[in-house]
Symmetry: C2
Subunit: 316 residues, 2 copies
């Protein structure tokens, strides 16, 4: 469930644009007004606002936001305003660049979006970067990371509920064999994780747990310093219980010395319209403190206000 | 250019359905009438006919065709009548089954369809088989074949004309190194072939030819008995000059002792609405005999008539 709050009566895109233009005008910027508008419009409404803004003023709203705002507040507003598919394309592209390389972001986008949303991100990538998403991921990764990430981003998983129990049993056995041999980059193991539907994978991992006594991620904990193994565990978590994955990502971002604002922003922005309600519940349960309070302690100013608005704090 | 001939004035789908129903009625089937209608309707028209047939008679046109027709004529009519995306899904599914396994068909579908048409086939695969296309390809292939085929069918290649010449040079060098080392299954070589746009790949292979004296496929000819190497060469051919690839496929199908009707049918049916005109020209040039004459010599009856109609012989 989403945490985004949209007012019961939404102003027209033209009115919103006029207000945004006012927020940019004169000395200083009216950040409060920007939050009041953008943090309370859904993806379709933001798209209309961006289009109307371009048609009315002949200017790019994203560019204006970029020049008016700064730092973490700038990043959260820009990422939020982007169309979700373009945002995913942007995040993956950034994650393949040398200075901002991040295999986790690539995995996260590949594993937590619906099959069609991932495809829409690949289409947006064509349009924006004149290349394919998998082409950049393949080019900028190596070794085991490439072996895992390229099929993950190229997948178009089946999304039905049908489960083949025979297959679940045989593939659970196969996974257990490979993990016992510490063959974590085995091609059969990667095939199963990168091509099976989430429902089928869930059945396979339940079989694994039933027959071999441990959850698969416990057996994969052998070597906690191995970066690939850590990513593999996160992949399984993203595919089977994304809310727990995002809770942990938020927890680590917030507890970190100096807060990981990029992770915090990314999770809030990409989940506010999807499943942030459940992530908030997971967070509260796991940390004994509500997410909004934890965010309020760790952040400040307009950045804080924007994050809190997106996770449903206060009224629209 | 297509060879399909559609009459200047097309009867309504309802009229076509009525005629088809008549062709099925009574003793014997009127094959001539079936050809006259279906072989002269484009994909959109055939789709409407199928929908109208279901709505009018509560029956499935494909099932009726299946029970009324037989042998090679049955197969060509059924494959032709299917929506192109469903047909591709069907061909790939068949090619992953034990008795009809065929890595070439999988490669051909992956490499000669547009990026979006390949995606549409993946969508049709979900709908029809309740699984993903890449899932079945990954499950039913092994070793080098899997390493090549899974990324080929999962690709969503960029289709713009932009070419990065620096990259073309460096990747041509990389390909030449790997081929010199006979590392035909090298992951960099596979990455380049499976992710780069066709325009970029073409530039890379031109650089290869310019700098190393041979066309890449000549250097790949070292070991002609190697099935994987043969498939790799065909992959490159499909990606860079599909009309030549299809000409050769037709040539081998026709020249074979006993004709390979499956290949002949597949190429005619899948290319008649795309580029069969160019394939015919290639065929004539390479074999000094027009394709329609070669087909007429090797096939007979309604099967022959259907093939000839699809490659543009006679009037609509």
């Amino acid at each position: 469930m989403a945490t985004l709050k949209v007012p019961s009566s939404v102003p027209s895109p033209a009115e919103d644009c006029e207000q945004l233009k006012k927020a940019f005008a004169g000395w200083g910027t009216n950040e409060k007004l920007i939050i009041q508008i953008l943090a309370h419009r859904n993806a379709a409404q933001r798209k209309l606002i961006t289009e109307t803004y371009a048609a009315t003023y002949g200017e790019d709203l994203l560019k204006d936001l970029d020049s008016e705002l700064s730092n973490d507040f700038q990043r959260v507003v820009l990422l939020w305003t982007l169309d979700p598919a373009e945002r995913d394309a942007y995040l993956v592209n950034e994650a393949t660049k040398r200075l901002t390389a991040n295999n986790w972001v690539i995995m996260e986008v590949a594993c937590t979006r619906s099959a069609f949303d991932l495809f829409r991100a690949r289409q947006a990538y064509h349009a924006r970067y004149k290349k394919s998403l998998e082409e950049d991921v393949a080019y900028h990764t190596t070794g085991d990371f490439r072996k895992l990430l390229v099929p993950l981003v190229s997948a178009f998983r089946y999304e039905g509920d049908e489960v083949n129990m025979m297959l679940a049993k045989s593939e659970a056995k196969l996974l257990h064999e490979k993990i016992s041999e510490k063959a974590y980059n085995d091609e059969e193991l990667i095939r199963i994780l990168t091509t099976r539907s989430k429902a089928q994978l869930n059945a396979t991992l339940n079989q694994y747990n039933n027959h071999f006594g441990n959850a698969i991620n416990k057996d994969l904990k052998a070597d906690t310093n191995d970066e690939y193994l850590t990513l593999l565990r996160a992949t399984i978590k993203c595919l089977t219980c994304p809310d727990k994955y995002f809770e942990k990502t938020l927890r680590l971002a917030i507890n970190k010395m100096g807060t990981d604002e990029w992770a915090l922003t990314r999770v809030v922005v990409t989940r506010a319209e999807v499943d942030m309600q459940r992530i908030k519940e997971e967070y509260h349960k796991r940390n004994s403190v509500p997410l909004d309070r934890a965010i309020a302690v760790d952040t400040s100013g307009d950045y804080e206000k924007m994050l809190l608005a997106l996770i449903g704090h206060g009224d629209a």
